[in-house]
């Protein structure tokens, strides 16, 4: 049997109802009798998992009621649940979730099989770096002395270019790449060999190291320059031009570089390459340019450069190999695990652990993988393994939408695997988009993906039969000729405004603008804001939102009353503080700031915070946060502020950031405190919550748009260049796929480049290498998929944008002259009403009618200064002080209760002379014995019972079982005499609800007579002032019991007795009031 025989691959093009298909398949399985617990399904996000679960449940219940096997409609409960009903409920505990949550759950359950700590803590995304650093510290420290000098020359020690990866970063990147591709420490030396072999081919044959000569010449040039500067004359006697802007800019930089040269062996290669620009200004040119050119010519033959590059590559890999192991050991020792471990460990179990294989095969029968196209190589191996254990597996995805290459997914590998799946289904009917929108993406991408070797069928899309409808949708193409990037984005924003103005049925929330980078998202959002259109992405950081500032200041103030900055902030921001509008006047003018600050604290809102400080000692940071929100009256303020929904979500996000802080504390195993959180938050740059609502335009990246749809979608960034590089770590696979070992033959290539700004002979060579060509081809395919995702999001209107009418990126996807647009004076009458005034040309000959226009940025409109506040509750009188919801009779106070306490019976001699440390336990033992119907036991049994109780309560050192027996006998005798024939309820339960309070308790002994009750309590008091003791301790309790009994039974409590077994006395409490 082939490995993939039980697998079905469902290829679902965009908008073809993938989730519906997926849900159907699962529901069918459950209907066929597979228990819900035997389904495993992985999705890409938590949200998708939740939705999938809800949909399956819904469909199961629908099926149940269709089949008349449901839980009835309106009929009463009971009668048992149908299998489908039950399955719907069971889904909550089945393995449906993200790959990581599912793996996490499996590992939790099979931790001991896997040899792991069962108290595994998963390292959250945010904590990964700090944990990695902690774990690999020793290794890095050990390698640092060797690697640092080389790293310095190559610019990787933090003193090089601003965004150059440090050597530690590179080690980490190699480790990450190794882990997600299942490479072990032992595999890395070979990677080093292959990396160096490849890189060496770009260099010249090494000759002699001429750096000392270079330096000599450089110093000579420097001297020459000094002379020129001093004399103002060039060596040829001409006046030196030392005032040009270029010279003034370049001269100090050159001096700084020269000043940094000390030891010739220490000079960064970048300095040799770029001590001066390729076009030096003024006197620099004759002095330095020649030398620069000489050095460039000799650079790649310099043996020291060879040595540095090779040494660096090898050291990075050696260090990475050790880090790989150290990281693993650290996590094992600390019970930590990251996302990659979760997958790798489960794979390990599935591959080689018999107990797990047996358990998994016995448990999971139907395995579904959603968004298969975005699986990482490791996940791919995992799914192959798990699928082979399950009875059946379904992989659902769309290779055309694989856009997570940058996170380590490998679309090529995935496609290679998919090609081998024998059973395949292709979904091509789209329910999402209207005809013209479909036409565009179809005509474009059938051509583009043909270049990837995909058949037209796998790209083809059409409306389902009978769904053509009357609306066709339409296309637009916007040219924004501005040269400045942000101007161009502003023009797009203007286009969005006019689009909305043109289509009255289009609300802002129906429109999405897709961009490539977060920075562009922010720029577009700001531009829309300027036009009075709110964008989903708020430009604000969470910390700068007003409600968050208030809450933070309040927390800081609760944490420390001496935090006067927080105090001032509260006054400055809180409109309810009496000094809100005048604080600057008061504070800046006073010679006595302390008095002013003190007076601010007397305002009610600050007094409320001061009061919270006392409670904060038993509260978590979250609880303090929630309490300050209330104390500040934030919700009411927010109701009168702009965008109240966003602000409430900001509060929620701030609470989320406290959770993140906890997560970090957990990972680092450190405690969490309010102070700690405040420090954490100060160092956080978290985004504000998204805006939402019908009046909000969606602005987001292409990557985030995956799986979403809107009526109108504007595609930005259609002009970007392909960005790829031969340098840096990359994963390479150069053998054909072997399903049994899907990751075999993968290795990490790492070429370092000491020249971060390009312009070196090395960069020239690299450009023509096969590595660069492969990287370019890969990037081109990535972009094709990303564009496909973008172009398949719209339901009715797709808008293309370009710097001119032939957007560069779309025409760089592998099909030359793929697309352009132009306005036409002659309009096709068929397009009347769509606003079309031109065409989009695809592949030269396909014409799609479109509205074509050229846009300019629009003038900003003044921001909205008024809005309709929300409705709130009419204000209430201050809350009254209320009693606690629950109380225990035994903890009630006796003060203020009047009663007569007197001894009413002498049962015999004292049984204990004094108390002891464990007297509490003695009391419990006595209670335990008196709480049973010991009289129904024969004597031996009684003794045994008393002995057992004394022993169980661990008080045999203190008291003799006899104490219990004697106390019991003589008290029963007393009762026989005093209350003959009364019913004895031992440990009687009593509940009571006076004025909304609840009391539930057990009365030691309740005697029931014809007219009422007698209440008895045993108190094992060993002291000498029983009366005083009773009076101060028990009156409250007895009174509550008495009232409760009367309330419950309507009969009176006739007497209240306190039995003191240790003293051998009975007291009566009378006249309780």
């Amino acid at each position: 049997m082939s490995l993939l025989d039980n697998v079905t691959m469902v290829s679902a093009s965009a908008g073809t109802g993938k989730t519906y298909t997926l849900t159907t398949k699962i529901v069918e399985q459950i209907e066929a009798g597979i228990p819900a617990a035997s389904i495993m399904a992985t999705t890409f996000t938590k949200k998708a998992a939740g939705e999938l679960r809800e949909r399956i449940a819904g469909r199961l219940l629908d099926r149940a009621s269709e089949l008349g096997r449901g839980s009835g409609t309106g009929s009463g409960a009971g009668g048992g649940m149908s299998a489908l009903d039950l399955a719907a409920q069971e889904l909550g505990s089945s393995l449906i979730g993200t790959v990581n949550s599912v793996c996490g759950q499996l590992l939790q359950e099979y931790a001991i099989d896997a040899g792991l700590s069962p108290a595994l803590e998963v390292i959250g995304e945010e904590q990964l770096s700090s944990i990695f650093r902690l774990a690999t510290d020793e290794v890095l420290a050990a390698h640092a002395p060797e690697i640092l000098p080389v790293a310095h020359r190559l610019g990787f020690d933090g003193t090089g270019a601003r965004d150059a990866a440090s050597w530690e970063d590179t080690v980490r990147a190699v480790v990450d790449a190794a882990r997600t591709n299942l490479l072990t420490a032992a595999d890395l030396p070979a990677c080093a060999d292959r990396s160096w072999t490849g890189l060496r081919e770009l260099l010249d044959t090494p000759r002699t190291d001429r750096r000392p000569e270079w330096l000599t010449q450089l110093r000579a040039a420097e001297t020459e320059l000094e002379q020129v500067m001093a004399s103002g004359l060039m060596p040829n006697g001409k006046k030196a031009n030392v005032t040009s802007a270029g010279f003034l800019e370049q001269h100090p930089k050159l001096l700084a570089k020269l000043a940094s040269i000390r030891d010739v062996g220490d000079v960064p290669w970048e300095v040799w390459r770029g001590f001066c620009l390729s076009s030096p200004a003024g006197p620099l040119k004759p002095i330095f340019l020649g030398l620069r050119q000489d050095i460039h010519a000799e650079l790649l033959a310099n043996p020291a450069l060879h040595e540095d590059l090779e040494g660096y590559i090898r050291r990075v890999f050696v260090c990475a190999a050790e880090c790989l192991e150290a990281y693993q050991e650290f996590k094992d020792a600390h019970g930590l695990m990251d996302f990659v471990d979760q997958e790798a460990r489960v794979l390990q179990l599935a591959h080689g652990n018999e107990a797990f294989r047996r358990a998994f095969a016995g448990r999971i029968r139907f395995l579904v993988v959603d968004e298969f196209q975005d699986t990482s190589p490791l996940q791919l191996a995992l799914f192959l393994e798990l699928s082979s254990l399950a009875e059946q597996a379904v992989w659902v995805g769309d290779p055309k939408q694989a856009i997570y290459g940058f996170r380590g997914a490998d679309p090529e590998l995935m496609e290679a695997v998919v090609r081998q799946v024998p059973r395949r289904e292709q979904l091509s009917y789209t329910w999402r988009s209207q005809q013209h929108v479909i036409d565009l993406s179809k005509t474009v991408f059938e051509q583009v993906f043909a270049e990837h070797g995909m058949s037209p069928e796998s790209v083809h899309l059409e409306l389902p039969p009978g769904h053509s409808g009357s609306a066709f949708g339409h296309l637009e193409a916007w040219t924004r000729p501005q040269t400045n990037d942000s101007e161009r984005l502003r023009a797009t924003a203007a286009g969005v405004a006019s689009l909305l103005a043109r289509h009255s049925n289009l609300r802002p929330c129906d429109v999405a603008v897709l961009a490539r980078s977060n920075a562009d998202v922010l720029t577009i959002s700001a531009a829309l804001d300027g036009l009075g259109l709110r964008a989903s992405r708020s430009a604000r950081t969470l910390g700068s939102a007003r409600e968050v500032q208030l809450a933070r200041a309040a927390m800081a103030y609760v944490a420390d009353a001496y935090d006067t900055v927080a105090l001032a902030e509260l006054v400055a921001i809180h409109p309810g503080h009496p000094d809100h509008g005048t604080w600057q006047q008061e504070l800046l003018a006073t010679p006595e700031p302390d008095a002013v600050l003190a007076s601010w604290k007397t305002a009610p809102v600050l007094a409320a915070l001061d009061a919270l400080r006392a409670d904060a000692s038993s509260a978590s940071p979250t609880a303090v946060f929630e309490a300050v929100v209330g104390a500040l009256g934030l919700p009411e303020l927010i109701a009168g502020w702009s965008t109240p929904e966003t602000r409430l979500r900001n509060l929620d996000a701030l609470r989320g950031s406290i959770d993140q802080y906890y997560e970090r504390c957990l990972a680092l195993r450190s405690p969490a405190t309010l102070r700690g959180f405040l420090d954490f938050f100060a160092g956080e740059e978290q985004q504000s919550a998204e805006n939402s609502g019908p009046d909000v335009v969606n602005v987001l990246t292409y990557h985030k748009a995956k799986g979403l749809e809107w009526k109108a979608v504007v595609l930005e960034a259609l002009d970007k260049d392909l960005r790829f590089s031969s340098f840096g770590p990359a994963v390479v696979q150069d053998v054909a796929l072997n399903l049994a070992q899907p990751l075999a033959g993968r290795w990490v290539r790492f070429w370092p480049s000491p020249f971060p700004y390009g312009g070196s002979p090395l960069d020239e060579r690299a450009k023509t290498s096969s590595v660069a060509q492969a990287a370019e081809a890969r990037e081109r395919r990535n972009m094709a998929r990303l564009m496909y995702v973008g172009m398949s999001r719209a339901k009715e209107i797709t808008v293309l944008t370009g710097k001119n009418s032939t957007p560069a990126l779309l025409n760089n996807l592998g099909v030359p002259d793929l697309m352009s647009w132009r306005g036409e004076t002659e309009n096709d009458p068929a397009d009347a009403g769509t606003g079309a005034n031109g065409v989009i040309l695809v592949g030269g000959d396909i014409r799609l009618a479109a509205r074509v226009e050229t846009l300019e940025p629009a003038e900003a409109v003044p921001p909205l200064r008024t809005w309709t506040p929300r409705y709130i509750d009419p204000s209430q009188p201050p809350a009254k002080v209320r009693k606690a919801a629950r109380f225990k009779a035994s903890s009630l106070d006796s003060a203020g209760i009047e009663a007569q306490v007197r001894a009413v019976a002498e049962l015999g001699p004292r049984l204990a002379q004094h108390g002891s440390d464990d007297w509490g336990a003695v009391g419990s033992a006595v209670h335990a014995y008196l709480g049973t119907e010991f009289r129904s036991l024969d004597e031996t049994a009684r003794i045994r019972s008393a002995e057992r109780i004394v022993q169980r309560w661990g008080v045999s050192q203190t008291v003799d079982p006899d104490l219990l027996l004697t106390a019991g006998e003589r008290f029963e005798a007393y009762l026989d005499a005093e209350f003959p024939g009364w019913k004895r309820h031992r440990e009687a339960a009593i509940g009571w609800r006076p004025e909304g309070q609840t009391m539930e308790g057990w009365i030691d002994l309740l005697l029931e007579g014809p007219e009422g009750y007698v209440l008895v309590d045993h108190k094992t008091y060993p002291g000498s002032d029983p009366e005083g003791h009773i009076r101060t301790k028990y009156l409250g309790q007895m009174k509550a019991y008495a009232n409760a009994i009367e309330a419950a039974t309507g009969k009176p409590v006739q007497r209240v007795l306190i039995h003191l077994p240790a003293l051998g006395k009975v007291y009566e409490v009378a006249g309780l009031r």
Binding site: E168, D332, D560, G630, W953, R993
Partner: protein
């Protein structure tokens, strides 16, 4: 006595409308407790941590390299023991006696997983194991047979059918029946409530509507189910004059529960100053407030213990009449001299010794502060568990603490007496009510059950142990919830979409409840849920009438509040007291950069706490490097030498590190420490070497100066003392005074630019202050940039000489003009937030630097990045 018994009733109230005598509702735990009382089987509870420790001993005795649990046990013995004990308890609860059946002879039986044999072996192993609830049930079953003690139970009412109880509980029911207890089944309501689902986006929105709904009626026949924390809801209830519900979330992060873990993080060398600051600022910190403040001040100066600042603080505490030398010594030992070695493990007794003062202080505090009694008890337990251990690693210690200090349920404010019936889950509803409200619905769960391997289930079944299946218990939970829902006429479920910024998953119970609601035929579940749902934002009509399930409230519009950005220039009236009493370089720089920032800091004395200002990163490294140079210079100067040996440099660095950068000694910082050390070694060496090469003889570090600056402002002349210390002062070949200021920053760009522009005010100020004239001399000055190991100077003494466009005298003139201008403004009561003021300048006019240049004043950029007043001046304000 009449007992209602149900699987989910352990936390259920006994009664609502008519509480009575001898009628209780119990779940498993409480039924066992009750029977134990009747049978004389009560005993004290053994805390789980102790049982784990006992079970751990047992596992140790059966551990071997071949043992199935060996690997886990080796990495984390404690958690492995905890996990296996939980499995053991679950099996025992279901009646397991610790023995496994003989394997079946036929080939079909591939036997249990390795878990069961392990548990069986542990059951036979030496060593005690205190019984738990799990053992109690079995004991009771036996005792019910053996003991003739009457139970005093008249009737056992089963909340759900007998057959739905797991096997062992059916045995118990049967045993009770045979002891004469009448067993019956509770009547099940025949109807379903009218269901409404309220959907809100956030918990705050949900709370607003829920509180309003509660406040809109008297609730005498309302049940309120709280399946999640109500702290947010309680805020709204209080605002509406309603009683609080007081349901708290389980949280391991309550301040008082951090005391023990924090303390035990601090006993190891080197001390983590950030955690120490947290410890000192914890509300219940055992360190006296005043003493804590001294120590925090020291940490802000020098982020390490044991240095000058620390010792000064210790001396201060010793000299304080309220505190005294004994306390000072204790604190110094605790956080400085008495720290335990960081690596390796220590024995339990050393830990006890280290914790002694802490335990004593907490104990004493607990006597007056009842809240701390729980902490004292936990601490005792931790110490008791530690005492016998021969070696404890930091990891073990953390695990033991985590096992003892378990998450507690928190609520800042407790529940208040209320007319409604408060429940934790709808399955607890036992009598008829009009309305039921379900708060926290999405979080509602009934206790999860352990999932057993199918092979183990089979094996145990052959031993007569029948484990309840998760399916059965899920079905039971759903059916019970649905049945109990029938007690209400109306059910209002509150759902929120997101919590902590993340989407919440739905609770499948929703589908279960909706499925039982009447619906038009053909409606899908999705539609049916929608039919019952109301979005929170739809509840309020145009006119402010709010309606939800028959309850109505008239609302009023909130007050529209439009915040205004503060004016960049504050006019507070002429005020002579705003004249600076003294100036230092940084004061002057602040004043010239932003007068608002200067007034707030130096006149209004606005401060953030020391604990929030412990230096790290460049600030820490700067003062560290500085001190190294200072110490080395002291040594060299005494011996009349100019350049330290590499070894001297290394020693100085090593000696000062714990005081000035103790952070670098923490685990995970070694690589960074090496990098810093090596940078510093070369940087310091380069510094001395270059001075020597440049012919500069270093004479003093931290040279104090004080000189009066003559300024005319507000129409009068002022003499303002300027004081401070110049970093490094020396003399060159020509006998001129040289001044070098030492910096640690990531980039040298700004300092170089300052020199080139002739705007190095700090250097000019030093030359002015150390010289005699009214204007600074052009004697050699430089910045030394540690991280870049280079000087930036316009003088040739320090390597390459940067071209300079302005002389110091000119700079000084501009500075004085600028200071006079700013003081004029300030004294006239015009205090300016520089950045907002600059931002408000018209785009087509002169910008601030240009204005200053035009008026011949020095322009100093406001230092907004490191300013604490950005929110106050409006720069970081939100005025939308």
């Amino acid at each position: 006595m009449i007992i209602e018994f149900g699987w989910f009733l352990d936390r259920a109230p006994w009664a609502f409308a008519a509480p009575g005598l001898n009628r209780v509702r119990v779940g498993r735990k409480n039924l066992i407790g009750l029977l134990q009382t009747r049978l004389g089987l009560t005993r004290p509870d053994t805390p789980n941590a102790e049982r784990v420790s006992q079970y751990l001993q047992r596992l140790q005795s059966i551990d071997s390299p071949a043992a199935w649990f060996h690997a886990s046990f080796a990495v984390d013995a404690w958690s492995t023991a905890q996990e296996l004990l939980a499995a053991r308890d679950d099996a025992v609860t279901n009646g397991w006696d610790g023995r496994l059946p003989e394997p079946l002879p036929d080939a079909d039986d591939d036997g249990p997983s390795p878990l069961l044999p392990t548990l069986a072996a542990a059951e036979r192993a030496e060593g005690g194991l205190a019984p738990s609830l799990a053992d109690d049930l079995v004991e009771i079953l036996d005792e019910l047979q053996a003991s003739p003690l009457p139970l005093g139970i008249d009737e056992l009412v089963l909340q759900h059918p007998e057959a739905t109880f797991p096997a062992v509980w059916r045995r118990l029911i049967a045993a009770l029946r045979s002891r004469g207890v009448h067993v019956s089944e509770a009547a099940r309501p025949e109807t379903q409530p009218q269901l409404t689902i309220l959907n809100a986006e956030t918990e705050w929105e949900a709370a607003e509507h829920t509180a309003r709904w509660l406040a809109a009626a008297n609730n005498g026949r309302t049940a309120v189910v709280c399946s999640d924390s109500t702290s947010v809801l309680d805020q709204y209830l209080t605002a509406l004059g309603q009683p609080r519900l007081g349901a708290g979330a389980q949280s391991p992060w309550q301040a008082q529960d951090q005391l023990i873990p924090l303390f035990f993080e601090l006993i190891w060398a080197p001390v983590n100053v950030y955690l120490l600051a947290e410890f000192l600022t914890l509300p219940d910190t055992p360190v006296r407030h005043k003493a804590g403040r001294s120590l925090l001040r020291a940490l802000r100066e020098e982020p390490g213990t044991g240095g000058e600042a620390w010792l000064k603080a210790v001396a201060e505490i010793a000299g304080d009449v309220d505190l005294g030398p004994a306390l000072a010594a204790t604190l110094d030992t605790a956080f400085n001299t008495g720290l335990l070695p960081a690596s390796g493990s220590v024995d339990g007794r050393s830990l006890l010794a280290a914790a002694q003062w802490f335990a004593a202080t907490v104990n004493a505090r607990a006597a007056v502060e009842p809240r701390l009694q729980a902490t004292t008890a936990q601490l005792k337990r931790v110490l008791a568990l530690l005492e016998p251990l021969p070696d404890v690693s930091r990891q073990d210690l953390r695990r033991i603490i985590a096992a003892v200090v378990t998450p507690a349920s928190e609520s800042i404010l407790p529940a208040e007496a209320a007319p409604w019936l408060r429940l934790n889950h709808l399955v607890e509803l036992g009598e008829d009510v009009e309305d039921a409200l379900w708060w926290g619905f999405k979080s509602a769960t009934t206790l999860a059950v352990r999932r057993w391997e199918i092979h183990d289930v089979r094996t145990l079944a052959r031993a007569g142990v029948h484990l309840p299946s998760p399916e059965d218990l899920t079905a039971l939970a759903v059916e019970q919830t649905v049945a109990c829902a029938g007690h209400a006429r109306r059910l209002l479920i509150v759902q929120i979409a997101q919590r902590n910024g993340e989407r919440l998953n739905g609770n499948p119970l929703l589908e279960g409840l909706v499925a039982r609601q009447p619906a038009p035929t053909g409606h899908t579940m999705e539609q049916r849920i929608l039919d019952r749902s109301v979005p929170a934002e739809s509840l309020t009509g145009e006119d402010g009438t709010w309606k939800l399930t028959g309850r109505t409230v008239r609302l009023t519009p909130a007050q529209l509040r439009r915040p205004e950005a503060p004016a960049p220039v504050q006019e507070v009236g002429a005020n002579q007291t705003l004249i600076p009493q003294t100036l230092s370089f940084s004061q002057l720089n602040t004043l010239l950069g932003c007068s608002l920032s200067w007034v707030l800091q130096y006149k209004s004395k606005l401060r953030i706490p020391d604990a929030a200002q412990i230096p790290s990163e460049n600030r820490m490294l700067g003062s560290f490097a500085h001190k190294v140079v200072e110490v080395l210079h002291g040594q060299l100067y005494a011996e009349n030498r100019a350049v330290p040996s590499a070894e001297e440099v290394r020693n100085a660095i090593e000696q000062l590190l714990p005081h000035f950068a103790s952070e670098l000694l923490l685990p995970g910082e070694k690589a960074r420490r090496h990098a810093v050390q090596s940078t510093l070694e070369t940087a310091v060496a380069t510094f001395f070497e270059q001075l020597q090469r440049g012919g500069v003889a270093l004479q003093g570090m931290e040279e104090e100066f004080r000189k009066e600056l003559r300024l005319t402002a507000g129409g009068t002349e002022h003499l303002i003392p300027v004081s401070g210390r110049a970093d490094a002062v020396g003399i060159d070949d020509a006998g001129r005074r040289t001044v070098v200021d030492l910096k640690w920053s990531n980039s040298d760009k700004y300092r170089r630019a300052e020199i080139q522009d002739g705007e190095a005010l700090q250097l000019a100020l030093y030359q002015w202050a150390l010289g005699d004239g009214d204007s600074p001399s052009d004697d050699p000055t430089a910045y030394y940039l540690f991280k870049q190991r280079s000087f930036a100077s316009a003088h040739g003494h320090f390597g390459a000489k940067l071209p300079r466009t302005q002389e110091p005298s000119e700079l000084w003139r501009k500075t004085v003009r600028s200071a006079e201008f700013t003081l004029d403004e300030v004294l006239a009561g015009r205090v300016t937030a520089a950045k907002p003021a600059e931002d408000a300048l018209p785009a087509d006019g002169l910008d601030a630097p240009a204005q200053a240049a035009e008026a011949g004043r020095l322009y100093v950029k406001p230092n907004c990045r490191y300013c604490n007043f950005g929110t106050l001046c409006g720069l970081k304000g939100d005025f939308s």
